[in-house]
């Protein structure tokens, strides 16, 4: 799984990526030194849980992808089957070109099947 993240991190603008479960357990991680793994995982889990709850209460079901775009960075969270792929990106780079790579990485992670920690 780290090889999937390593390929993803080569994409322009990607600062790091990790795979987390919905309760914030890190399955695999490759982040730049500026990012704290535990912190990013915890915050990503919070986003996943709260987004899921909000969408469910609105009757819209599960989400496949969420992007939090902020002034100094972007975080893309993609459903990857038993876990979620979290990609942290530079704010100067458009997500569009990276989206294909992210979707491809999520699919490869999904194909791993059951994830054991």
């Amino acid at each position: 799984m780290r090889s999937v993240l390593a390929e993803l991190n080569d994409v322009v603008g990607v600062k790091g990526s990790l795979v987390v479960t919905t309760d914030g357990m890190v399955v695999a991680s490759l982040l730049s030194r500026q990012l704290d793994e535990d912190f990013v995982a915890a915050m990503a889990a919070s986003v996943i849980q709260r987004t899921r709850r909000a969408m469910s209460e609105a009757g819209m079901g599960s989400f496949t992808r969420t992007a939090v775009v902020a002034t100094h960075g972007k975080v893309i969270v993609t459903d990857a089957g038993p876990a979620f792929l979290v990609v942290v990106m530079d704010h100067n780079v458009e997500t569009g070109p990276a989206d294909i790579e992210i979707q491809s990485a999520a699919m490869r992670i999904r194909n791993y099947g059951e994830i054991r920690i």
Binding site: K15, S32, R33, Q34, L35, F39, V40, M43, A44, S46, V47, R50, T51, R53, A54, M55, E57, A58, G59, M60, G61, S62, F63, T64, R65, T66, A67, V68, V69, A70, T71, H72, G73, K74, V75, V88, D90, H91, N92, E94, G96
Partner: protein, 378 residues
């Protein structure tokens, strides 16, 4: 290119410029800037991007133009510094490179360069000063407590390594001033005055600070004070009071809420739109529209508020700054909640319109109703 072709192009650009500035929008100004780039007019493109970003700070397109053009301008210097670091690394070269990257807006690369310098030259204050400056600027812009804490940490490291750098004391003094840590502010301004005895403005300010009747000798926890600033959205002390305050005045744009709400149909009419919602800063509903396949407005409003709140907290805590927008995709529909210019605009759209196009539509909708531009400090 022949003279007549150049003249024709020049006239066309002039016409485009007049049109773009008469009814500015991120799209119009982005196109104008890109036309300047295509014409080789890098300085003109940069000017459009910078002026455009004052009006539309959330525009990705204008930000990318600015980064591109400034990179073009600074490419030679950056290459030279990288070569120098490769051949004969010094703290000065690293620090200059980090500063250039910071100017370009490549904060992460600047921080990475500063970190490499700090590892290689542990006694150098330069890299810590660069890191402190980046974090301080972010705190000025967005009032996020984490940025203030990281700024303080970095600047204190810089001061420990080189007590004789006036810039470090000036930044620390201003940081403490902004969170209301008066005793710490006085401490660093005293050091600054010793290093720069001719600085009358700082002397006068320090005198006033020392002789305030309510001056406390105990500041309390810096982190707590920074969080008070984040929660209130307001600095403990006015920035313009501080001598040689570090930022220039900025343009502040607000949206005409009445015009926005009365023209909501124009956004609702975009193909694929199912819900459009406008909230004010307090997240009260100003206007809402829902198509047949959209959610009922009260339900959509609850969804928008929830997504906005959770994403805003996450973006601050994950060190990505202040939330601009959150996008959520699911088989039932796609939701976007954007915060800009004092309002929140939320939409739900189907797959007939791509997220990027939906974001452009939202930006152009907001741009059409900008009310005023006032000049303020950060």
């Amino acid at each position: 290119m022949r003279f007549l072709d150049r003249l024709k192009r020049s006239r066309e650009l002039a016409r485009l410029s007049r049109t773009a500035w008469s009814t500015p929008s991120p799209t119009a100004l982005g196109e104008l800037a890109e036309r300047h780039i295509a014409a080789g007019e890098i300085d003109a493109a940069l000017d459009v991007a910078e002026r455009g970003l004052e009006l539309f700070p959330e525009s990705d397109r204008l930000r990318q133009v600015r980064v591109f053009t400034r990179k073009k301008q600074l490419a030679g210097r950056i290459r030279k510094l990288r070569d120098e670091i490769g051949r004969h690394p010094t703290p000065t070269a690293y620090t200059q490179l980090a500063e250039l990257l910071r100017e370009l807006g490549y904060d992460d690369e600047a921080l990475e360069t500063a970190a490499r310098c700090a590892e290689r030259f542990p006694d150098a204050d330069g890299p810590h000063l660069v890191e402190g400056r980046i974090r301080f600027d972010r705190f000025l812009q967005h009032h996020i407590a984490r940025d203030a804490e990281l700024a303080e940490d970095a600047l204190r490291r810089a001061a420990e390594r080189n007590w004789s750098n006036p810039q470090t004391h000036a930044l620390l003094g201003e940081l403490y001033h902004l969170v209301g840590s008066t005793a710490a502010c006085r401490h660093h301004l005293s050091a600054l005055v010793e290093l720069c005895p001719d600085d009358q403005a700082t002397k006068a300010f320090l005198y006033d600070l020392t002789n305030q009747p309510s001056t406390s000798h105990v500041d309390g926890e810096f982190g707590d004070r920074a969080r008070e600033v984040e929660d209130s959205g307001v600095f403990a002390q006015a920035q313009e009071q501080f001598p040689h305050s570090s930022t220039a005045p900025i343009a502040v744009t607000r949206l005409n809420s009445e015009a926005l709400t009365s023209h909501i149909e124009s956004l609702a009419a975009v193909a694929g739109m199912r819900n459009v919602l406008i909230l004010n800063e307090e997240e009260a509903v100003l206007a809402a529209r829902a198509s047949e396949d959209g959610l009922e407005p009260p339900r959509f409003a609850r969804l928008a508020r929830s997504l906005s709140a959770s994403s805003r907290t996450a973006s601050r805590r994950m060190d990505t700054g202040e939330l601009v927008r959150v996008e959520v995709q699911c088989p039932a529909g796609n939701v976007m909640v954007a915060r800009a210019h004092g309002v929140v605009v939320a939409i739900q759209h189907g797959d007939e319109i791509r997220s990027a196009a939906a974001w452009t539509a939202v930006q152009d909708f907001m741009a059409a109703h900008i009310e005023q531009t006032e000049v303020a400090h950060a």
